[in-house]
Point group: C2
Chain length 390, copies 2
């Protein structure tokens, strides 16, 4: 159930001292043979992108999409750290490359944690030897890596999906700032399928668009978001972009769901579906606007079927909209039709809202396009978790 | 200090039974002579605009911007109420017009409260006679009207501003859904200046843009937002658009501040200023993104100078941005310069953040444009107030 499930990968996770708690904070995923394999990534679009994002992007360009390893630290984002931060990210790659006998450009770097605090590089430096020594291909090795990238996550996020003759494994972290274009989330996927860097990249972009990019916790786009996939080829199964697409999408979707379910202070996950839209863009934009609404999140938390807030958000989403045609349902029970209250079984709606996984559908009644977005509710715990960083 | 301060206006506020609590819920502002005067309004851009918004818009168009009165109810938004809702809004105007001896098209209508619940029209109907009887030009009459439009507001919002030879008075309500293009907020302004409907309208649009539209509580744009101004001319002072602009802007700004200060669950008001931007649009967009950020609001509540979140929001605001040039200050104390942490007097920052009115400035270091936005913090009370509508 983790990144070591596909053949040909090893993983490791240790505590190097970045986290004062002593918990693990440094992870490594590498090809078992320490040889470069096709790799692809999707990065944050934030213009304040962190040092490791800049370095990893440059490395993938330099190698034409061939990587040997990914090194990740938690506890510090290495963002808004200027030139020294970029040097730290580069030196991290260099040291890992050296230890693995690989070109530093074949090493990708990820960081997650607080912004604006210099990376305690000596701690990372001192941990790399034991991090590399700890590499192993067992399931527990993958788990160790998945746990070492956690920040405010309460549990590791891991997945395995079987493709046609190959396997996809993955791990992720992220519990806040989850929104558009991902969020402070990191994900590393591995597969033993055989493919080109180009096919892999195209399949990953599609998978991210219909998974991580369709989840909203708090509307913030982080400085560090990164999704990386390595394709080792050990299965001997040649996979095209089309072959890779569905297993990758499925793995990303399940990791996205795990993140939403573990959202800071979240107690519910609602899938907001907008249907009957004039276009897919309209449907997704409407679903995103509803899923981002603080008032809707409050209603979800209170198990209150206040569809008026949903209609109001759709009306201000900048999409084709006619209030007289809108219908809204909770768990399949229609509560609003033709833009006005619709008499319904209140107990059925209450029972649905009392659950953890909610389904809310808004039918715009205009066209035939559909889009969905995962939303979380908001509770006191979200605020408590985020009022102070220290 | 209210709408009756300018000469020639009368106001009234009564309880007609919409609010189960028995508090006042129906207000009226009318010209003392019951004659139409130049009027202008700015309405919500939400496509799910409530019935009273549609009716008032049509009435202003029909009269070419001449109105005699504004009738407002709280406790029910008359939004997402379909055809019956539109008829109720129209009949409310008709009854008030009849009682005042005015054409119904000269009466504007506003509602605020819950969405999707049929307006209890018989209650409004039964209250109109005593509402009109209660009209008076004293300060207390204005206060009564200001109190009758409150929903979750904890106090009425009123203002008087002196222009050159004329007076502007105003009242407003609003404590949530305050954002872009205003939010569930209603405001009625009165002035005894003499001007044309066109001059009045142009001055109001400018005033709203640089006041109500620069305030963010929760990012939701309501179905009912309306700002109305009536210019009676009783001062005998002829005022141009330019003469009206500053007093109107000042009145709107003070009402906006009062709303932000009374935001649901808010304990602080921060003015977020983005300076050194490539354009005013960039500056305002950046300030809005920071002010809307749930994570920034949490930091404000926790009195935590976590500037990393501010930089991250600016980086994802879709504006010209270079992390290496950014500086951030709290209460004038620079905490970030050149995109990295800047050593500073921590006690001075802590003392500033402990106050109620905060000043946060982000200098992008790119151009010379500046823009500001009022932001509120978020606390448990915001969630408590919004989890359930009943």
């Amino acid at each position: 159930m983790t990144v070591t499930a596909p053949r040909g990968f090893a993983a490791s996770g240790i505590a190097c001292g970045i986290k004062e708690s002593g918990e693990t904070d440094l992870a490594l995923i590498a090809t078992a043979a320490c040889k470069p394999v096709p790799a692809a990534a999707v990065f944050t679009t934030n213009k304040a992108a962190a040092a490791p994002v800049r370095v990893s992007k440059a490395h993938l360009e330099a190698t034409g999409g061939m990587s040997t390893a990914v090194v990740l630290n938690s506890g510090n984002a290495n963002a808004a750290t200027g030139m020294p931060g970029r040097e730290h990210a580069w030196r991290t790659a260099q040291m890992v490359g050296h230890a693995l006998g690989a070109d530093p450009h074949q090493v990708l770097v990820c960081s997650t944690g607080l912004i604006g605090i210099p990376l305690p590089f000596p701690k990372i430096e001192s941990g790399i030897a034991s991090l590399v020594e700890g590499l192993g291909g067992a399931e527990e090795d993958g788990h160790r890596a998945a746990r070492a990238i956690m920040t405010t996550d309460t549990r590791p996020k891991e997945i395995v999906v079987e493709g046609a003759g190959f396997t996809v494994g993955g791990m992720a972290k992220g519990a806040a700032m989850l929104e558009p274009s991902m969020a402070t989330m990191l994900a590393v996927l591995t597969t033993d399928a055989e493919c080109s860097p180009e096919e892999l990249s195209a399949a990953l972009v599609d998978a991210v668009e219909s998974s991580f990019n369709q989840m909203v916790v708090d509307g913030s786009t982080s400085t560090n978001d990164t999704v990386i996939v390595l394709a080792g080829g050990a299965s001997g199964t040649r996979a095209t972009r089309a072959d890779l697409a569905e297993p990758l999408r499925h793995a990303c979707d399940r990791l996205a769901y795990q993140m939403a379910a573990d959202a800071e202070g979240g107690t519910k996950v609602a899938r907001i579906t907008v249907t009957g839209a004039a276009s897919i863009e309209d449907a997704r934009r409407g679903a995103r606007q509803v899923a981002s609404s603080l008032l809707v999140k409050c209603s979800l938390h209170g198990e209150d079927p206040y569809w008026g807030r949903i209609v109001s958000e759709l009306g201000s989403a900048g999409i084709a909209f006619d209030i007289d045609r809108v219908a809204v349902s909770y768990g399949g029970v229609v509560v609003c039709a033709g833009g006005v209250a619709h008499s319904h079984d209140g107990q059925a709606v209450a029972a649905h809202l009392a659950g953890h996984d909610l389904e809310i559908v808004a039918d715009l009644g205009i066209g035939s396009a559909t889009g969905s977005m995962y939303a979380t509710d908001i509770s006191h715990a979200y605020i408590d978790e985020n009022v102070r960083t220290s």
